[in-house]
């Protein structure tokens, strides 16, 4: 059973394999709705918006808000400031961490209910667990950043989390004119596999901001693997990435 809904400004898909689990799927989508109500910077009535207005003292923040802020602070330290939820205007936008955190927690809802075979995908970030309805490892295709209809790598995360950060989707009259005629140095897509989707998401975001250095950061960080695609269509995997791919 698989269902996709648009929540938090992105498509979210829940798949529980062959199991008919309508109520559980409702509980998972309901959880994402709760998270959006609390963390959306696009909602006037969210807790994060109230915090940015200065209406909420730090001690009055919800437990969930405190947890997300703590993870954000830890990630900022671990990535030498490349991950920072404080925007130039001084306001806080934790959306870069909320997605992976919410997917991980939603996966916990399914696991606590005894579901062992499922995946949850939100905006291209994925937590899978167990096997698909055919009894095979869940397979994750990495999208070609130059052609949205094409897969350029197939990963079997086997319980790990997968997240991809990138610049923009091509094929919409969009091109990168970053110095026509000069060597292109940009990276356009970075996929990270981590212990869970929260790890994958926060490090994919930070490492992407590091540009060319990002893949080396992933290489030297334990328990992370990555795959970066540059603007020339060349890809660089970390040394352990291939072992997680279908040949």
């Amino acid at each position: 059973m698989r269902e996709t809904r648009i929540l938090m400004g992105m498509p979210i898909t829940v798949d529980v394999g062959g199991a008919p689990m309508g109520e559980l799927i409702e509980a998972v989508f309901g959880y994402f709705e709760d998270i959006d109500r609390r963390f959306s910077t696009y909602r006037a009535d969210s807790e994060i918006t109230a915090i940015n207005r200065g209406d909420v003292a730090v001690v009055d923040r919800s437990g969930e808000m405190m947890e997300v802020m703590a993870i954000a602070e830890q990630t900022k330290i671990e990535t030498a400031g490349y991950f920072d939820i404080r925007k130039p205007d001084g306001s806080l936008d934790p959306s870069g961490i909320v997605k992976g955190w919410a997917i991980r927690n939603a996966a916990g809802i399914l696991q606590r209910a005894g579901v062992s075979d499922f995946f949850i995908e939100a905006g291209g970030d994925i937590q899978s667990c167990g096997k698909n309805a055919s009894g095979l490892d869940w397979s994750v295709g990495i999208r070609n950043p130059f052609n949205a209809d094409e897969i350029i790598k197939v990963v079997c995360p086997r319980g790990r989390g997968v997240a991809t950060s990138g610049t923009y989707v091509r094929g919409q009259h969009i091109y990168n004119p970053h110095g026509i005629g000069s060597p292109i140095q940009d990276i356009v897509s970075l996929t990270v596999i981590g212990a869970d989707v929260l790890e994958a998401d926060r490090f994919a975001t930070a490492a992407f901001a590091m540009g060319r250095d990002g893949i080396h950061f992933i290489e030297q960080t334990p328990r992370l693997e990555g795959y970066v695609v540059d603007a020339n269509g060349r890809a660089t995997p970390t040394t352990g990435f291939g072992a997680l791919c279908l040949p």
């Binding site: 091109y175 269509g233 890809a235």
Partner: protein, 100 residues
């Protein structure tokens, strides 16, 4: 991205800077014959002042490869969506100028 791409005045229009969470994005739109014909990325989150310390000598050389199409027979797809909001925000600003 659903943006009406017709009926704009010809010219080059620069959008506002928009925060793509890990940096600032700014888009410039080129309108020719009333249609959006090209986009240029003026600002792009690659000019961070902070730098990380990577000990390259302690790392293996990473080989690179050309990307190539694989079987599309997969359960799930991972791709980037991160900057789409900032991108569209800046582009909308540019197109607003083109239509006013």
């Amino acid at each position: 991205m659903k943006l009406a791409a017709k009926g704009y005045a010809d010219g080059v229009y620069t959008g506002p800077t928009a925060d793509a969470y890990y940096g600032i994005i700014q888009i410039q739109a080129l309108v020719q014959g009333g249609q959006l014909t090209a986009l240029k990325v003026l600002k792009y989150p690659s000019d961070r002042r902070t730098s990380i310390s990577i000990n390259r000598q302690a790392l293996p050389m990473l080989r690179d490869e050309a990307i190539s199409a694989q079987s599309a027979n997969v359960d799930i797809i991972s791709g980037a969506t991160l900057t789409s909001r900032a991108f569209i925000q800046s582009l909308r600003g540019a197109l607003k100028k083109a239509s006013s």
